[in-house]
């Protein structure tokens, strides 16, 4: 059983810290212009953080206790391929979902 004092400590401090992280630049930098080198790095935030977040989940899925799973690999590839060549986020999500469902139906 989770101790209630500890629980509220985590909820409140985590909430305050998460907001501080989110507000840091938006709030403190505001409309001051950032230097060119900083802007150049920030342009690549999305295409760096998202792949870094996803790559370990694809290669070592938590649901299979870290065992690489062919169905998940294929689903990830299908979603990426449709997104990259088809330029459609929705199409890419559907492609990944179809592979996962197909795997489940085949009992893989």
């Amino acid at each position: 059983m989770i101790d209630k004092t500890e629980l509220w400590f985590v909820i409140i401090v985590l909430g305050v810290c998460s907001f501080a992280l989110r507000f840091l630049f938006l709030g403190l930098v505001g409309d001051r212009t950032l230097p060119d080198w900083a802007l150049r790095h920030l342009r690549y935030t999305a295409v760096s953080i998202l792949p870094a977040l996803v790559a370990p989940l694809v290669i070592w899925p938590a649901a299979t206790e870290g065992q690489t799973d062919p169905v998940r690999l294929l689903a990830a590839f299908a979603a990426f391929a449709v997104g990259y060549w088809g330029k459609s986020v929705i199409g890419a999500m559907l492609a990944g979902a179809v592979v996962m469902l197909g795997g489940a139906l085949l009992g893989l």
Binding site: M1, I2, E6, L7, V10, I11, V13, L14, S18, L21, R22, F23, L24, F25, L26, G27, V29, G30, D31, T33, L34, W37, A38, L39, R40, H41, L42, R43, Y44, T45, A46, V47, S48, I49, L50, P51, A52, L53, A55, P56, L57, W60, P61, A63, R72, A76, F80, A81, V82, G83, Y84, G86, K87, V89, M93, G96, A97, M100, L101, A104
Partner: protein
């Protein structure tokens, strides 16, 4: 006229965010179920989602607390998972920084992976958008993601163990992120950034507290920036 344009940006945001509804709701429900199983009351579970509003960090904190890890360890791990939010905040600042303070507070509260990534891609693709249109677009994207996160948490906590969570569900989140990555790789510099970030994230996956994510992210950003500098030189 300006209002009309803001409204059309808002609705385009709603449309862009819509597919994430199907990711946010099951995950929020899963959080509600797990929190209830861990002994949290409905009020505690809802407070968690309202105060923290960050899926990955919530799951991390909850599972560590449930495994009887010290509260400080649960807290630090969850904050580490959320370090990426600083980079999201920095990346949107050139687009949204001039907004009045209360609007920036609102943006910061609703800044999650999907609202960030959708907005960044939209603002890059449409450089002519005004500040008002960008803010309207962000709010539009937020609508199918954040309120469903709260509702889903509530429903999961209410239904409790009655919901059977399908085992393939864990992969909805990676698929949603991958789906956003493909269309975003518009230039060679973007592709270099993504490739380098994957290599570093996998190579440093052994680091504690998810720091491999931060290493991968920073390496990708540096590689993308360097590739851009060389191409334009």
């Amino acid at each position: 006229m300006a209002d009309e344009q803001a409204m059309s940006s808002f609705w385009r945001g709603v449309k862009t965010g819509f597919p994430f509804l199907f990711v946010a709701v099951p995950f929020a429900m899963l959080f509600g179920v797990l929190a209830t199983e861990a002994g949290l009351t409905l009020f505690e579970t809802m407070s968690f989602s309202f105060v923290v509003i960050a899926g990955a960090a919530q799951f991390t904190a909850l599972s560590l607390l449930n495994e009887n890890a010290p509260a400080i360890v649960a807290l630090i791990s969850a904050i580490a998972v959320n370090m990426r939010l600083v980079m999201y905040s920095a990346a949107l600042t050139p687009y949204l920084g001039p907004l009045p303070l209360w609007k920036r507070v609102l943006l910061a509260y609703f800044l999650v992976d999907q609202t960030y990534a959708s907005s960044q891609l939209e603002f890059e693709a449409r450089p002519a958008m005004t500040l008002t249109q960008r803010f309207a677009f962000f709010l539009g994207v937020m609508i199918p993601i954040c309120p469903p996160w709260f509702l889903g948490t509530w429903f999961g906590a209410w239904a409790g163990e009655a919901i059977d969570m399908d085992s393939g569900l864990d992969f909805a989140l990676p698929i949603a992120f991958i789906a956003m990555i493909g269309p975003a790789l518009r230039t060679p510099a973007h592709r270099v950034a993504a490739l380098v970030s994957v290599i570093f994230a996998l190579g440093f996956a052994w680091l504690p507290f998810n720091f491999g994510l931060i290493v991968g992210g920073l390496a990708g950003m540096a590689a993308g920036a360097e590739a851009e500098r060389r191409m334009s030189a």
